[in-house]
């Protein structure tokens, strides 16, 4: 058993078998996390570099915890105060890091395709921790894990992604993964935050929130940044909140046993009300816990394959 991919660059094109294997493996790691000593020696001797060109707290901590709980050696490299500010190219940076004998690179980068580019200039296994507005595959996987944990399946579920679809890598990874696993996906946001030809993904596209929410099982709410208003994409945060914010009275449009998700960090009172964020249907904190288990599964499944196989 092994994944058919060598790197995790995105969920576009990743097979249902691969996604299932990652989610199934994550179940075992979630059990590990519940142990008295939530750590296993699986990746002892493996060195992983967390290469973060964008500020990130949650994703970096989540990856770092996943790595440590697998007993890997980890090194963090972030753009501020590093050679990046001296104008070193990504290629040179990676060549230098790789010369120190490492096995895997987890990369977060503001430019779409940077992880893909990395695979063309280095030997290590590359895991995308978010590139531009392109993909954030481990977030997509942990969102799917969380949905599957609750419903026991992904197939046939109606998932609505609400918010700044245009700038969201989380939306894209969720869309690819969920469609592959047989869910029905809709997206909803103001027209200026919906990129062109969105429907070609195979999703339904709404600019009316009530229409989008009708009959949905899962609502995944994206963060809306205040910069969008400065960039002229939104007239005001107030209007956004009024027309696209998820408040308690919107929930009655959803199916019974519905679920509210948010990849964080939340703008309470803008895209989500506090009441909704803290309701019993909210899985926002389980998402965070599951993130570590899913990232452990990804790291575990993409490691190895370096030597001979011993008899048991």
């Amino acid at each position: 058993m092994s994944l058919s991919i060598r790197h995790l660059l995105g969920l576009e094109g990743v097979s249902a078998d691969d996604i299932s294997m990652i989610l199934d493996t994550a179940v075992s790691f979630k059990e590990v996390l519940s142990r008295k000593i939530p750590k296993v020696p699986t990746l002892r001797g493996i060195t992983i570099v967390n290469l973060f060109y964008e500020p990130s707290t949650r994703t970096r901590i989540s990856f770092e915890l996943a790595e440590k709980r697998l007993s890997a050696d980890t090194v963090n490299f972030s753009a501020s105060g590093s050679s990046v500010s001296k104008g070193e190219s990504l290629k040179d940076t990676v060549w230098n890091i790789e010369a120190m004998k490492i096995d895997m690179i987890v990369i977060r980068h503001g430019a779409s395709g940077a992880p893909h580019y990395l695979t063309t200039c280095c030997q290590s296994t590359v895991i995308n921790a978010g590139d531009g507005a392109h993909e954030h595959p481990t977030q997509g996987l942990l969102d799917m894990y969380t949905i599957r944990e609750k419903y026991g399946r992904l197939e046939g579920l109606k998932v609505v992604i609400v918010g700044d679809i245009k700038h969201s890598r989380v939306a894209r990874s969720n869309i690819w993964g969920l469609l592959t696993m047989g869910a029905q996906v809709s997206v909803c946001g103001p027209p200026t935050l919906l990129p062109v030809e969105m429907e070609k993904f195979g999703v339904r596209v709404f600019d009316d929130l009530d229409e989008a929410l009708a009959g949905a099982d899962v609502v995944n709410i994206l963060r809306v940044q205040k910069e969008r208003q400065k960039a002229g994409l939104l007239p005001s945060m107030r209007e956004y909140s009024r027309y696209y914010g998820i408040t308690k009275n919107k929930l009655k449009l959803l199916n019974d046993n519905f679920t509210i998700m948010h990849p964080g960090p939340m703008n309470r009172g803008v895209e989500i009300s506090s009441e909704v964020a803290e309701g019993p249907y909210s899985v926002i904190l389980p998402q965070v816990t599951n993130g570590v288990a899913v990232r452990m599964a990804v790291l575990y499944l993409l490691s190895g394959g370096k030597g001979k196989v011993y008899e048991e």
């Binding site: 000593i37 750590k39 296993v40 190895g304 394959g305």
Partner: protein, 185 residues
């Protein structure tokens, strides 16, 4: 005069007897089973652990807790394998601190699986003691590990294969030595 390539060394009856004997030895050695818990190593060790629980209940009247352990994460050859073993869930839903843990597996061979299992158990807490019960001990240890309870000890060559079949998993109860030269367990 070629040797037959497979030989049955245990039958359904002898497996039953072995389990019963091990159960008696556990009771004897630990002055009862009040403080004993059982953990089976996936896959066949888990079924043997369940049989042992039943037998111990018949003997002692105590229903002992049984856990199942997947030792994949603790293996020492993970990074060398091209294919990753399928990971299954570990289920130990009881506290093992200060307990006598009887670890159960089907075959004891190099000792590496048991080594991995010992590490895993320790991560769940500090047990009072760990004892090892196996159905077959075939020798060729690569680590200083020995069984406290063995259903049968056989001398084998490294080229031979010892296959344990259990009804729950394989449809029949038997232990076979395969001499066709494929090696392994």
């Amino acid at each position: 005069m070629a040797k037959k390539s497979t030989e049955k060394i245990m039958t359904e009856d002898s497996i039953d007897q072995a389990v019963t004997r091990i159960a008696r030895q556990i009771v004897e050695r630990n002055d009862g089973v009040d403080n004993v818990v059982i953990i089976g190593i996936r896959t066949r060790g888990a079924f043997l652990a369940e049989r042992l629980r039943k037998t111990l209940e018949d003997i002692s009247g105590n229903d002992l807790p049984v856990g199942i352990m997947d030792i994949t994460f603790y293996r020492d050859d993970i990074q060398d394998k091209l294919d990753h073993p399928v990971v299954q869930k570990t289920e130990i839903l009881f506290d093992i601190v200060d307990k006598i843990v009887v670890l159960v597996d089907d075959v004891l061979y190099t000792g590496r699986t048991v080594r991995a299992a010992l590490d895993a158990i320790i991560d769940f807490g500090r047990p009072g003691a760990i004892q090892l019960a196996v159905l077959v001990d075939r020798g060729h240890r690569e680590l200083p590990i020995s069984a406290d309870y063995a259903g049968k000890s056989v001398s084998t060559s490294a080229a031979e294969r010892v296959e344990v079949h259990l009804k729950e998993h394989d449809g029949a109860d038997e232990v076979i030595i395969d001499r066709s030269g494929r090696g392994g367990v």
